[in-house]
């Protein structure tokens, strides 16, 4: 087994609030899914691109994906893909990141690690970038979806223009519920 991102990762309280507005998962669960997606793409792409050549060079091949990937990566003709982070957008943060969300990192199989490092230029950075990208996209969506609610509320006199202020103030509304709270409310009915 190998551990990825063992130094963890921190996000801000506003990041956490906006993440929880949409997601029933924790940010570590989301990141685990993201990592599994990176692994799936790396393993399947390497397999698809090299399996015929691997077969040509061997009279038989292992009957496991782990064995096949290990064999392909040892081909003399195999070339690392050096793919950049799939997507990267930095959140508009004005407060510091103090919430640890990846404590302990992520454990993956050795062949998965080999596939990741052969496919992505920097798999750990890709995961950091994807987490930031996710938060940035949700911040934008949160403000877009929440602004009409404030505009329709005659008791609201001003709307913050700084994202962190907007988020931290909106979740203080008496009728506000995040994704987990909304689900619990729906199931109670």
């Amino acid at each position: 087994m190998k551990t990825l991102c063992e130094n963890g990762h921190t996000i801000s309280t506003a990041d956490k609030l906006v993440f929880e507005h949409y997601s029933l998962e924790t940010s570590k669960e989301w990141s685990t899914g993201a990592l599994n997606g990176l692994i799936t793409k790396a393993v399947k792409t390497i397999y698809n691109d090299y399996i015929e050549e691997y077969k040509t060079n061997n009279t038989s091949i292992p009957a496991t994906i782990e064995g096949i990937i290990t064999g392909i990566l040892s081909l003399e003709t195999f070339k690392p893909y050096n793919k950049p982070s799939p997507e990267k957008e930095i959140p508009e943060r004005t407060i510091s990141c103090t919430e640890e969300v990846w404590s302990g990192g992520f454990e993956i199989e050795d062949y998965e690690y080999s596939a990741l490092t052969s496919f992505y230029a920097d798999p750990e950075q890709a995961l950091y970038d994807l987490m930031d990208n996710k938060i940035s996209k949700r911040r934008t969506a949160f403000i877009k979806e929440s602004t009409p609610i404030l505009l329709a509320d005659s008791t609201v006199t001003t709307i913050p223009t700084i994202q962190d202020d907007f988020i931290s103030q909106f979740v203080l509304r008496v009728d506000y519920k995040n994704a987990v709270e909304l689900k619990a409310e729906q199931e109670a009915h």
């Binding site: 949409y22 989301w30 997606g37 799936t40 799939p86 990208n133 969506a141």
Partner: protein
């Protein structure tokens, strides 16, 4: 004309002027054998957990046969879910869900009577961020134990999706 980046052909017109996009995320996968006793007593079952999906195609390598599709880029994705359940003499209720990282799409609960096969399906256009996941779930309720089965021959239980924009 063939449009390339450094490594790949991503827009490929044919000699007859159709245009294909070989790297555009798109998948179709089916359950090809019976997945037995998965729900009925309220268990939330994720398709692909016990019986793996068989891929018909997985363009761009984003689908795992455990039933998880991962968005490779932020965008709008059309997601399609069709399921057929069978095999209990009890009356029970069932609902199905498309669960994405941003929200859960739920098809209304409906009642099933007798042993008959019942098929149901729905679709949505989902907003997904890069590396968001989607899974497909079924929940049966009203029976004391999990004795509802998912039918798996041919394409009676399948999931599909692609990036629209």
């Amino acid at each position: 004309m063939v449009t390339n980046n450094l490594n790949n052909t991503y827009i490929k017109p044919t000699t007859n002027h159709e245009v294909t996009q070989p790297l555009q995320p798109a998948f179709l996968a089916a359950i090809r054998s019976t997945d037995s006793n998965v729900t009925g007593a309220g268990t939330v079952y994720t398709l692909g957990t016990n019986v793996a999906f068989t891929e018909v195609f997985d363009q761009n390598a984003d689908f795992n046969t455990n039933g998880t599709f991962t968005a490779s880029v932020t965008g709008r994705y059309l997601l399609i879910y069709v399921i057929r359940v069978f095999g209990t003499n009890n009356n029970y209720s069932i609902y199905i869900e498309i669960v994405t990282s941003n929200r859960t799409y739920k098809f209304n609960k409906f009642n099933v009577t007798g042993i008959g096969e019942v098929g149901v399906g729905f679709q949505t256009i989902a907003d997904m961020d890069a590396s968001d996941t989607v899974t497909f779930k079924v929940v049966g309720t009203g029976i004391g134990s999990d004795i509802v089965n998912i039918q798996g021959y041919s394409e009676v239980t399948f999931v599909s999706g692609f990036l629209i924009s």
